[in-house]
Symmetry: D2
Subunit: 421 residues, 4 copies
Amino acid sequence: MTFDPDATGLAYRHYDPDEVVMGKRLEDHLRFAVAYWHSFAWPGGDPFGGQTFDRPWFPDTMDGARLKAEAAFEMFDLLGVPFFCFHDADIRPEGASFAESRKNFEEIIGIFERKMATSKTKLLWGTANLFSHRRFMSGAATNPDPDVFAWSAATVKNCMDATHRLGGQNYVLWGGREGYETLLNTDLKAEMDHMARFLSMVVDYKHKIGFKGTILIEPKPQEPTKHQYDYDVATVFGFLQRYGLETEVKLNIEQGHAILAGHSFEHEIALANALGVFGSIDMNRNDYQSGWDTDQFPNNVPEVALAYYEILRGGGFKTGGTNFDAKLRRQSLDPEDLLAAHAGAMDVCARGLKAAARMLEDGTLETMRRERYAGWKTPASTELLSSDLATIAAKVEAEGIDPQPRSGKQEILENIVNRYV
Amino acid sequence: MTFDPDATGLAYRHYDPDEVVMGKRLEDHLRFAVAYWHSFAWPGGDPFGGQTFDRPWFPDTMDGARLKAEAAFEMFDLLGVPFFCFHDADIRPEGASFAESRKNFEEIIGIFERKMATSKTKLLWGTANLFSHRRFMSGAATNPDPDVFAWSAATVKNCMDATHRLGGQNYVLWGGREGYETLLNTDLKAEMDHMARFLSMVVDYKHKIGFKGTILIEPKPQEPTKHQYDYDVATVFGFLQRYGLETEVKLNIEQGHAILAGHSFEHEIALANALGVFGSIDMNRNDYQSGWDTDQFPNNVPEVALAYYEILRGGGFKTGGTNFDAKLRRQSLDPEDLLAAHAGAMDVCARGLKAAARMLEDGTLETMRRERYAGWKTPASTELLSSDLATIAAKVEAEGIDPQPRSGKQEILENIVNRYV
Amino acid sequence: MTFDPDATGLAYRHYDPDEVVMGKRLEDHLRFAVAYWHSFAWPGGDPFGGQTFDRPWFPDTMDGARLKAEAAFEMFDLLGVPFFCFHDADIRPEGASFAESRKNFEEIIGIFERKMATSKTKLLWGTANLFSHRRFMSGAATNPDPDVFAWSAATVKNCMDATHRLGGQNYVLWGGREGYETLLNTDLKAEMDHMARFLSMVVDYKHKIGFKGTILIEPKPQEPTKHQYDYDVATVFGFLQRYGLETEVKLNIEQGHAILAGHSFEHEIALANALGVFGSIDMNRNDYQSGWDTDQFPNNVPEVALAYYEILRGGGFKTGGTNFDAKLRRQSLDPEDLLAAHAGAMDVCARGLKAAARMLEDGTLETMRRERYAGWKTPASTELLSSDLATIAAKVEAEGIDPQPRSGKQEILENIVNRYV
Amino acid sequence: MTFDPDATGLAYRHYDPDEVVMGKRLEDHLRFAVAYWHSFAWPGGDPFGGQTFDRPWFPDTMDGARLKAEAAFEMFDLLGVPFFCFHDADIRPEGASFAESRKNFEEIIGIFERKMATSKTKLLWGTANLFSHRRFMSGAATNPDPDVFAWSAATVKNCMDATHRLGGQNYVLWGGREGYETLLNTDLKAEMDHMARFLSMVVDYKHKIGFKGTILIEPKPQEPTKHQYDYDVATVFGFLQRYGLETEVKLNIEQGHAILAGHSFEHEIALANALGVFGSIDMNRNDYQSGWDTDQFPNNVPEVALAYYEILRGGGFKTGGTNFDAKLRRQSLDPEDLLAAHAGAMDVCARGLKAAARMLEDGTLETMRRERYAGWKTPASTELLSSDLATIAAKVEAEGIDPQPRSGKQEILENIVNRYV
């Protein structure tokens, strides 16, 4: 795989890792990560067609896995990305037994460890694939079969060990099969209890092994399931509270999943910030009009800017980052496509973040927001909030209160945003 | 208004209030309620057209309001429904001041009180309309203007008083404007805090006046707002927990709102039951393919049966009931349409509930559900749940655990349902 | 594969092929067909997981293909279905060349021919899979590469020959990849022209070989593509007209595809009847809230009844039938699931068709429809339609025309439907 | 109403009417129009709330209408827009009879005529509101009552006269009620025939009075109706062909309506160009996640650029233009909001069109598109298209044709677009 940015015209036009924005290098703001699975393990299939990509490392053997690791780190270097992410199943062939799969996995983790000793690319997060193999078809932690719970727990243990060993900054759980196809065969209450117990074990294990990274849950409303328990930010927050885990776990928010749940990406980020559980993002867009997960590379700067605006308002990433959980279109066969897609996406994000920073530094948006709520900063409003219905009702009549609406100025605010994007 | 069921062929074919199902009269199971607003106050408009209905009580005067009350109770009697529901704004003209509106309201409440002394129809719930008047355009409890919070609190106080006076069994809050049009002008955190404080005042006032009914929140994801805070059951539950209100407040779940949030109606009911917050339902369907609230009368027995199945599995209604928050299509101009719509809907619900009861009494579905999770009833699985990742991982390898998938039998379960509906 | 209907309780409860409805046997009304691909070739994968089913015939070899054919005809007999449908790719392994694939295909067609000599099951339609192999990733007839057009044309030729040889009653084209992922790389006009030319060749070849069946196009709006040219009934009709093919080609309408295009199934059927291009149906439902093709077996009798109502109003099937282009949920692993799914679906359809027939025989719905339009049966309205704007405008003022709305009676009509379903 | 662009910071930043792009002034490219209805007649209501705006001209009297006309032309001048658009019902109060409504209408048209004598603002198009009044609740041309057809025809006659008198460049028909709420009471075939006959009368009348403008149909899939006949571009084209009107009528395409039909805006424009029926646009965006018509001002430059790219590829506007069929959010109460919304939208469009022009002048996108289809420019491919299935099949085997996929380069193309937007 070679990549001549000049020949293809794909050199970065906006992303300079060392450019300083709001006192921090762009690289440290954006914390880009390449997703191992879509970039190296996905063969280009869809529900109506099979493999389109043809990579030398595709044979699902240990030799293939070693070659894939070489290719991956070569691309990380070409792109100059600071992070990558992986599932266990992306990096090793499935073995004939749990133990053999683990052995395969650990060998590749060893290769990663050696690669990372000389590469600038670190691990943003690791995760376990608890959804592709048929054993997970009815869930992992929520499976009606306790043996699948056990298998899943054992798998996560190994993936957490590997993430810890590689200095990963987060550990992610996406419950792709933690949901149902039909309520008719589902015990909602038991499944949620099992999922919570599983998550508690993960948190306990983190502390036991001294892993300092963040445990992240990635919400998604549906697909592959009819209903997925980690529906959206609000749902996951309610779940965490219910089981006393809201201070231990944060969220990895994906644009495409936000869309499928009926929310804008910036809504999910802003809500997670308001609830104190914002962690990281998967920056891959969904086609607004395709009702499944299209996982496309981001390409709309104004939208990306609004997402980073909420991230910056919340103080920016801590352990989190910008992961491209994005796949090439299945017609984009060439290695050049993979590089160009990442380079273009990084440029889009750089433009978006720089626009967001300018909006924040300019301050007009925040000033207007504060002014809108200025009435709530008075002693009278403090008194109001500590009052009661009967007292308030008496006061409304006594004082002849008659509130008059004031403009919400949405179009003017949108015009202001357009000065920066 | 006259209604000759024989002539129009609209007599009940399936709803006999005195029929005993699972040891209870159908009337006591279903607890039907007519919604005052759609049935008597809504003029037939939509975003592209104005009034189509022509009712003698439409002049928005006290005379009109008195005539409307007469017509409403006449229809309640014709239909033989045990309950009705109302907003303040449905039953009285807006006054020139808060005090005048209250006076208007109280006069009509007095009329209701006298009517109810001789009618069999009781009050399922009262509520306040905090969304139609322009003063609420930016929210009620979440308005940037504290005066609107105050106005809203005073309004709810009066509506709770009236509900209590009329012996209402619940008090409902639907936050139709508690949300936002654009994040750009919104302080999410402050608005949620204000909404929670408002709800706490409602709960306190309930106890203060000795109201024994249930406080209910009605979720809806959007429309009229771009985003509504009470998005769905899971979101509201998380909100209640966050502010310590989850034991004081339950949910009124509407089929159409469930659909708009991407859920089936039965999902929302089952989830509310699992979380211990199920209260009541609005049994009006949404067109699955219209992205706004179509509020149609229910007409699909198999779907209605699945909803009642979850209600019966949870023990049936306590203070809640089956409210038809349904409006006629705007072309259905005739009084006969209003009666026929209710009669047809009540028959559909009666068929649905009776089918649900047969499914539950037969027991096949529940037996199959239990069998699917039987593995979780063993000592080994109890031990598993109290174990930890490392112990489990060791056990998986030691015992060579290799879980094999078992059929979820969805089609067979759906066939079984079809024996009853 | 064995199937004891009594033991599993899966015997037909409503479908009796010999029951006479509106003067015709149910079997001749419904004309059920089993889809070879979903029932025998689909391994249970989805975008997030691989094979879950485990069938003895899955090895993609000629031996596997022969075994699959045995199993398929065994199941056809067990179910007693009068028809089946297939793609070339379902029944034979891909060869190393076009010629080898053809040879494989023809051998299996020979097996089918022998099986069909003694089976009651006939061929409803054949079709070519021009979407799964990577060569079709950018389209078949609409591919930017003329060689793919040629390959596709050759493939269809062979499939039409096979369909003709087996006495198939229709030949279907579903253009799963005839669309685009991005307009940026697409020549809309050229692609539509090529697609039309391809279809003309198909029509010419039909006549050349003396095939008496119907050429059918199956509309779908998207998935796998972002946009598919055969979007819905109206779009395909416009396309056929544009290229002069509207008398040669009819439509195969799928419930799930109708839903994805924003239409009800009965709308698409009614429109095809109004335009004279109704052909056949794929009777598999989509989950209304999943934005991809879920291809589930039908289970809602009232909905199915409305579809058959439109089919019966249009005179019923001619060469078409009721194909179950439905797949088991991927958790439904057992052969029993496959049989139960078909048996349940056939019962649902039988109930739906019988209800539709009763509605039609009763006549109330059609009487009410006619009465609504009675005004258009007068001489005055005939004159109106042959008039012109200026004359009409003069007349409206001269006669003081002032039209008064009349009820559309939607709820009453829905009540009437509910008497039958 | 005053508007100080410097004080509010709302002066144009990108739109300079005299800037020359691709040899034409920006004003002549974009041909902006203000919509009278949303800007001056809409009171801010939605399905859950009433009027929020408070304009001095709102009293629905002739005095109000005269004042409204003053305000409108004042705003046209402030904005410097070259065009406006109107419905009859926007500009005059409904009279007690058809004749009185006409008289009211003609008086205001007279005022317009005098205003336009000195204003630079011309009429882009006129249209008739055949959907708001209750008489149209069941359709206009498709109404079951022929009197409504007559009333509608007479209304359109008067609106065409007025459009002609004012030098309008197009006449538009949006069939907001030409559809159905339920198939159960609908005669699809008759309604489509009546709609076609109506449209033929419109075309005939155009020629009779010598109107040189374009007759435009505006597609929309649903809302207010469950199904609208003019669903999308492809559907309308099929309809026009069926009744022989495809050379007489073109399309006015709205972004929001395209979205509701499941299409991108640029798709609808590109398709209309491919079919030769592109006319004009309504440049107002829909919220992608709100399932109703949100009619917001455009604010996303990259999206707008892709729309203008397709318009410029098709040769730009002829009689059409860029109409803002956009309404303020109902919280945007102030006159300043109305001006800012238009100014911001015009800037967004100017940026979009200039980016589109640069993409077209640069030529990379078009070169890459041509190269993708280069295989179709050979003699062999011409021969292929004139061949037949049997010949092609023989050739595929004889020549051992084995097409190999080539990258569709979607991400690279999207990167190229991002250089310009």
